[in-house]
Symmetry: C2
Subunit: 196 residues, 2 copies
């Protein structure tokens, strides 16, 4: 019988990341992960739905910090979402670049993990959008501000974990947000968009 283990979740997550990285995601079983953490398989399944989930439980904290930041920020919708992601960068990702790089390389190695990542990002976006609507932002504006903010975060994050990067994620988010504004700002002279 497995007894309650202090921080079983944290140990299993660390073991999963380490084994996925060293042996490969496909080659690692839940039994391997549990053994590496000094726990058993049943304990793993009490905490995680499947093998993939051990890489994604940070998403819960990320969502909480984002939602709280959206509720507390008094700015236009897109600015609010960008500020919320910068808060996440400060509170969650500072000093975690090495970890983020390892995790990213594992995700990049598996289409299954990439699908899960996309789905997680989708539910994160739904939560942010709902938090904006709760502040009285209209549905379309909330969706567009959120999706644009998520795009900014994804591009900034990719730049942050790229080899050789040394800017902080917080700064990169501000930089990419400015680039997105420049890219989407109206062009002059205005071309006819109805045909090429």
């Amino acid at each position: 019988m497995a007894r309650w283990q202090p921080d079983a979740r944290g140990r299993l997550e660390a073991a999963a990341l380490e084994l996925f990285h060293k042996r490969g995601f496909e080659q690692t079983t839940v039994t391997d992960i549990a053994a590496r953490a000094g726990l058993d398989k049943r304990t793993f399944y009490r905490l995680f739905g499947d093998k993939r989930e051990a890489l994604f439980s940070g998403g819960k904290l990320l969502e909480e910090v984002l939602i709280k930041a959206v509720a507390e920020t008094d700015a236009a919708p897109f600015e609010t979402v960008v500020a919320a992601f910068r808060r996440v960068a400060d509170e969650i990702f500072t000093d975690r670049l090495d970890l983020a790089r390892v995790r990213q390389s594992v995700i990049d190695s598996s289409p299954e993990l990439q699908e899960r990542e996309l789905r997680k990002m989708g539910s994160l976006a739904a939560a942010v959008s709902a938090a904006l609507r709760a502040r009285g932002v209209g549905e379309t504006a909330a969706t567009l501000a959120t999706e644009s903010g998520v795009t900014v975060f994804r591009v900034a994050f990719a730049r942050w974990v790229a080899p050789g990067s040394d800017a902080s994620l917080t700064d990169l988010i501000a930089e990419v947000a400015a680039e997105l504004r420049a890219v989407t700002s109206p062009p002059e002279p205005h071309p006819d968009l109805s045909q090429s």
Copy 2:
């Protein structure tokens, strides 16, 4: 032995959509789909990797039209992507609202289909971004213009298939693009984004 069948692909796709809609995605087997189309299971698997794929083969044409439009449009990156999606709306979706509504209701009914849809959108975005880069657009601008354009298309598409809508998809894309520009344009007065 299955002989070659004229438009086996189209018949299988129509049968799949009809059965997924009437009986449910989970409850429909490849055998059911093939039988409904008057074909056999082996013919299905020669044309589609799995049951889900029968809903997604339109993605190939969509990608071709998009890429061609991007290559032919001489405008700023975001305008180019928006114009390309408007061309897709004109060339592919005109007069197909009923079909699009049925397909969307099937996708909304299954997390598995939603994952596949997200992944397809991801590879569509990668192709559009590559087409922009081929025109000399920088990597970040290409990604941001593409992701913003995909967001516009998704929001416009959701509005188009929503009950009671009667605007054309082409017009909705232009409308949502203008809304995205408004949402991401710099706010005045400029708040401090570093803290809430």
